[in-house]
């Protein structure tokens, strides 16, 4: 397995969707490739950071305006 092959299947690896022999090949490559170890670690971190950054909450004033907006137009 090359770095390119590894990066191609990274999502499937992290989601547990690879076959057992593919996982073994990927982990053999990881054991000897520092760049891919760093890639995997930072890719996984990027995924979780993006998810956390995306959990924004609608501001309360916006909820109030939405409520008013709907009441004015419906019924």
């Amino acid at each position: 397995m090359t770095c390119r092959d590894l990066i191609d299947v990274l999502d499937d690896y992290l989601d547990g969707r690879l076959e057992r022999d593919e996982v073994a090949a990927l982990e053999r490559h990881l054991a000897e490739c520092e760049a891919c170890r760093a890639y995997l670690a930072t890719y996984r971190k990027t995924r979780s950071l993006g998810a956390r950054a995306g959990r924004v909450e609608m501001p309360d004033e916006m909820k109030t305006r939405l409520r008013r907006f709907l009441r004015e137009r419906v019924g």
Partner: protein, 210 residues
């Protein structure tokens, strides 16, 4: 594994009731619908547009459509996926023609390889690993600004699949259904978005990591 919010069982009669009461202007029912759906509509609308004023207009538009559609839904899962689909479409349309200059062509942010398939580039960058920095630190201060700028630079249809998958925790299949693309196209787009984001973060955070 994502839990697939929209794969709920068929609509309960209480959902049907809520929708028809809301259509008739019942304040409590409107409140119930907001309680159920406004958080996800806002997250997705803001996540795609990255702009509060745009997100607010989208939330209003989507809720008005939802209420006017009233009891026309056949199941709770139909409401759930309808909400995501309409929000995505409205948000992408709003951004059309407003595309900011800061958006980076993604190709510049994807990993490059030598002919033999191994990574190419400055070694310090290739092995830079900032993943041990605590989330609390990365989600605040200067690092947070770097993260926000990196997210801003993604094209909006990439941000759409990222939010649906990673924030809303839908499956690839559900995301494909919502954005009207094949599962493999969605997987490719997600992977490219994450690679680009990782690259932008590593260029800014990686130097400090070693």
């Amino acid at each position: 594994m994502p839990h697939g919010v929209i794969d709920s069982p068929a609509m309960t009669s209480d959902e049907q009731l809520l929708l028809s009461r809301a259509a008739a202007g019942d304040a409590g029912a409107l409140e119930g619908l907001m309680g159920r759906y406004s958080a996800r509509v806002y997250r997705l609308a803001y996540g795609i547009t990255r702009n509060q004023a745009d997100a607010e207009e989208i939330v209003q538009d989507v809720f008005l459509q939802l209420v006017l559609k009233g009891a026309g839904f056949e199941g709770r899962s139909a409401v759930g996926s309808w909400i995501y689909r309409v929000t995505t479409n409205v948000a992408l349309n709003k951004r059309r023609g407003k595309r900011r200059e800061v958006e980076t062509p993604l190709d510049d942010c994807l990993p490059t390889f030598k002919a033999d398939g191994h990574r190419e580039g400055p070694r310090a960058l290739l092995v830079a690993d900032w993943s041990q920095r605590p989330d609390a630190e990365l989600l605040s201060g200067e690092a947070r600004q770097i993260l926000d700028e990196a997210i801003d630079r993604l094209p909006e249809h990439y941000r759409a699949v990222l939010i649906l998958r990673d924030v809303e925790e839908l499956s690839n299949e559900e995301v494909a259904d919502i954005v009207g693309d094949s599962v493999s196209a969605v997987k490719t787009r997600l992977h490219r978005a994450r690679m680009a984001l990782r690259e932008l973060l590593t260029r800014r955070l990686g130097a400090e990591a070693r």
